[in-house]
C-alpha cells in the first residue's frame, strides 16, 4: 500500500499571463481515493489540475505536499511522489511501446540513465496492469486510440508515484474505452492505494468512479464531497447551468444526471 500524503492547496490563485483563472481555491486531496474535478468548459478545472501538478506556477497561494510547498522539493524527488499525465502528450517518431513506458522511470534513474533491475520490473508491472505486454515491441503508431492511452497511463504507472494526476484521460475515446480506462484506474487505486486526481468531462462517469468530487465554477470551488452530496439537480444547475433530474444509476447506485433540454419531455419531470 502506498504511503499516506497530505496534499493541499491554500488560497490558490493561478492563471495565464494577464488572465486569472483560479480565484482562491482551498482544498485537501483525500489520500488513497479517486478525486474528480468537474465543471463546465472554461471554469478552470484543467488549470487547477495543472497548478496542483506544478505545470503552472501559482500567482499567489501555495500547493503543499506534507505541509511543504511543492516548489521547495527537488524536481526529481517530487516526481517520485507525484505523477502526471497531461492532456496531449507528444509521441516521438518511431518509438516503441516499451521505450515509451520506460521513460516513466526517469526520476528513479541516476546520471546517464542506466537501468536497474527495479526499472525493468516497474516497466513490466505497468505493462501488465495496463494489459499492453503483448504490444511491448510495437511502434506506438500501430495502436488504436484506446491502446495508446493505456500505454501513456502505463508510462505514468512506471513512475510508481503515490499520487497520480490525469487531465481528461478519456477524451477522444469511445464509451467502451472510457469505461475500460476508468476501470483500470480504479484497479490501480484499490489494489495499490494510489491517490488519483483527474479532470473528467462526463459528469455521470465522474459520479460513478469518483470517491470525492470537487465542483468548480468560474474559478472557485463551489462544492465538494461524495458524488451523492455534490451531484444534485440544484448543484448541477448552479455549476453547469443545466436543468436536469438526478436519478439513481441502476448499475452503481451513484447519482445519474438526466438533462432536460427544451425538447423530448415537455417539461414533465420524472
Amino acid at each position: 500500500m502506498k504511503p499516506t500524503h497530505l496534499f493541499q492547496a491554500e488560497q490558490l490563485v493561478a492563471g495565464y499571463e494577464n488572465k486569472t483563472v483560479i480565484h482562491g481555491v482551498d482544498l485537501t486531496i483525500p489520500s488513497h481515493q479517486i478525486s474528480v474535478i468537474i465543471g463546465s468548459n472554461g471554469c478552470g478545472k484543467s488549470t487547477l489540475l495543472k497548478t496542483l501538478a506544478r505545470l503552472i506556477k501559482p500567482t499567489s497561494g501555495h500547493v503543499t505536499l506534507d505541509s511543504k510547498p511543492i516548489s521547495k522539493f527537488p524536481a526529481k524527488a517530487l516526481a517520485r511522489i507525484i505523477g502526471l499525465l497531461p492532456q496531449s502528450p507528444i509521441v516521438p517518431e518511431g518509438i516503441s511501446v516499451a521505450d515509451l513506458v520506460g521513460r516513466g522511470r526517469f526520476p528513479h534513474q541516476k546520471m546517464f540513465g542506466s537501468w536497474s533491475k527495479k526499472d525493468y520490473e516497474a516497466v513490466a508491472e505497468a505493462m501488465t496492469i495496463m494489459d499492453i505486454t503483448q504490444f511491448a515491441n510495437h511502434n506506438i503508431d500501430e495502436l488504436s486510440g484506446g491502446q495508446r492511452q493505456r500505454v501513456w497511463i502505463a508510462m505514468a504507472l512506471a513512475q510508481q508515484t503515490d499520487i497520480l494526476f490525469l487531465d481528461e484521460p478519456t477524451t477522444f475515446l469511445d464509451i467502451t474505452y472510457q469505461v475500460e480506462i476508468l476501470d483500470l484506474l480504479t484497479d490501480l487505486n484499490r489494489k495499490h492505494g494510489t491517490t488519483i486526481v483527474m479532470v473528467l468531462h462526463d459528469i455521470n462517469l465522474s459520479a460513478r468512479y469518483a470517491d470525492h468530487i470537487f465542483a468548480l465554477h468560474t474559478g472557485k470551488l463551489v462544492a465538494e464531497g461524495t458524488p451523492a452530496e455534490v451531484v444534485t439537480s440544484e448543484r448541477v444547475k448552479e455549476i453547469f447551468g443545466l436543468d436536469c433530474t438526478v436519478i439513481e444509476d441502476p448499475i452503481s447506485g451513484s447519482p445519474l444526471v438526466v438533462p432536460k433540454g427544451r425538447y423530448h419531455g415537455g417539461g414533465v419531470t420524472v
Binding site: 495565464y16 499571463e17 495543472k50 501538478a53 506544478r54 505545470l55 527537488p74 524536481a75 526529481k76 524527488a77 517530487l78 516526481a79 517520485r80 507525484i82 505523477g83 502526471l84 499525465l85 497531461p86 496531449s88 502528450p89 507528444i90 509521441v91 516521438p92 517518431e93 518511431g94 518509438i95 516503441s96 521505450d99 515509451l100 521513460r103 516513466g104 526517469f106 526520476p107 534513474q109 546520471m111 546517464f112 540513465g113 508510462m155 505514468a156 513512475q159 494526476f165
Partner: protein
C-alpha cells in the same frame, strides 16, 4: 537497449576505421599500403608517400572530430526544439558564427583560425540566445515552430549583414571565401588542439542530458511531471549544441547538413532513444563528414571540392525527403 545496438555499434566502428584509412590513402595522389604503414608507424622513413600520409593524419583527425561535433550538435538541437529537421544551419547559429568571423576579418584584422574560434563561439552563442529569446516570446514559450521561424528570419538578416560587410572589401572576400564554403583541408594540429576541449565538453554534456532529453521528447508537460526542469535542460543542451557547432564552424567554416544526416541515419536504424542516438550521431557524423571530404578530393581530382559543398549536395535532397516523409510532427 535497442535489440540490434551491439551490431550497429560494431558495424559503425568498422566503417569508421575504413573511412579513416580511406581518408589517409585516397586523394590527388593515392597511397600504397607500404607507404601508409611507413607514414603511420615509422617516423624515420622519409618517402614522399609517407610524408603525404603524415600530412593527411591531421586532416583526417580533424574531419572526424568536426563530423562528431556536428552530428551531436544536430542531435541536441533536434531534441531541444523537438524538431526533426533542426540543424545548426536551420536555427541560424552557423550564420551568427559567420557574421562574427567576417566582422573579425574586416575590422579586427584577425586572420588565424585559433582566433576565429572565440569570435565564432561568441557569434553562435549570441545568435542562439537571440533566436531562443525571440522564439520564447508570447504564449507557450519556445515552441518548435517559433524557434524555427525565429532561426530562419535571424539567419536571413545576418547573412545580408555578412554580404554587406564583405562586398565593399575584396580582401575580406578573398579570405572569407574559402572559409565560408567549409573545408577541413587546412587543418593542423594546433587547430585540433584548440578544438578538442570544446568537443569533449560538448559531447559530455550531450551524454549526460540524453535521459532528460528523452523525457522532453514526450512534451514539456510530461517532462515536468517526470521531474525535468525543462527551461534549465533546454539551456544546457542548447549551449552544448552551440559549443560544438560554433567550434566546428570556427575552424572548418559553416558546413551544413551533417547534423541532419547523422541523426536521421541512426534514428532509422536504432529508433528514438536519445541515450543511443546522441552518442551514435558522433560516429555517423564523423563518418559522413570524412567520406564527404574524401569524395570531394576524388571528384575533382587533381583539385579538391570543399567538403561543405559535398555535404550540401548530399544533404539538401535528403532534407527534402525527410521533410516530406516524416509528418514533421511538432510543426
Amino acid at each position: 537497449m535497442p535489440k540490434n545496438f551491439v551490431w550497429v555499434l560494431i558495424i559503425c566502428l568498422i566503417l569508421l576505421g575504413f573511412t579513416a584509412i580511406a581518408s589517409l590513402v585516397l586523394g590527388s595522389r593515392s597511397i600504397g599500403w607500404h607507404e601508409l604503414i611507413d607514414g603511420l608507424f615509422y617516423p624515420n622513413v622519409d618517402s614522399y608517400g609517407a610524408n603525404i600520409v603524415r600530412k593527411r593524419i591531421s586532416r583526417t583527425v580533424f574531419s572526424l572530430c568536426c563530423g562528431a561535433a556536428l552530428g551531436v550538435s544536430g542531435a541536441l538541437m533536434q531534441a531541444v526544439t523537438r524538431n526533426p529537421i533542426a540543424d545548426p544551419s536551420i536555427l541560424g547559429v552557423n550564420t551568427g558564427a559567420s557574421l562574427f568571423v567576417v566582422f573579425g576579418i574586416a575590422f579586427l584584422n584577425i586572420s588565424h583560425a585559433n582566433q576565429y574560434i572565440w569570435l565564432a563561439l561568441a557569434g553562435a552563442a549570441i545568435t542562439a540566445v537571440f533566436v531562443f529569446g525571440i522564439g520564447s516570446m508570447g504564449r507557450g514559450g519556445a515552441t518548435p515552430i517559433k524557434l524555427v521561424l525565429a532561426g530562419a528570419a535571424t539567419s536571413a538578416a545576418l547573412s545580408s549583414l555578412v554580404t554587406a560587410i564583405m562586398i565593399p572589401r575584396s580582401y575580406v572576400m578573398d579570405q572569407f571565401r574559402f572559409w565560408q564554403v567549409g573545408s577541413v583541408g587546412s587543418a593542423n594540429w594546433s587547430a585540433i588542439a584548440t578544438f578538442i576541449p570544446f568537443l569533449a565538453v560538448g559531447l559530455l554534456i550531450g551524454f549526460i542530458t540524453a535521459p532528460a532529453l528523452n523525457a522532453l521528447a514526450l512534451g514539456d508537460d510530461v517532462a515536468t511531471g517526470l521531474g525535468v526542469r525543462t527551461g534549465t535542460l533546454r539551456l544546457i543542451a542548447a549551449l552544448a549544441g552551440v559549443l560544438l557547432c560554433g567550434a566546428a564552424t570556427a575552424l572548418a567554416g559553416p558546413i551544413g547538413f551533417v547534423g541532419l544526416l547523422a541523426t536521421h541515419v541512426i534514428r532509422l536504424i536504432l529508433g528514438a532513444d536519445l541515450r543511443f542516438v546522441i552518442p551514435m550521431s558522433a560516429i555517423t557524423g564523423a563518418i559522413i563528414l570524412t567520406v564527404s571530404d574524401v569524395g570531394g578530393r576524388l571528384i575533382s581530382n587533381p583539385g579538391e571540392l570543399e567538403v561543405g559543398i559535398v555535404t550540401a549536395f548530399i544533404g539538401a535532397p535528403i532534407l527534402i525527403v525527410v521533410a516530406m516523409r516524416s509528418k514533421v510532427r511538432s510543426l
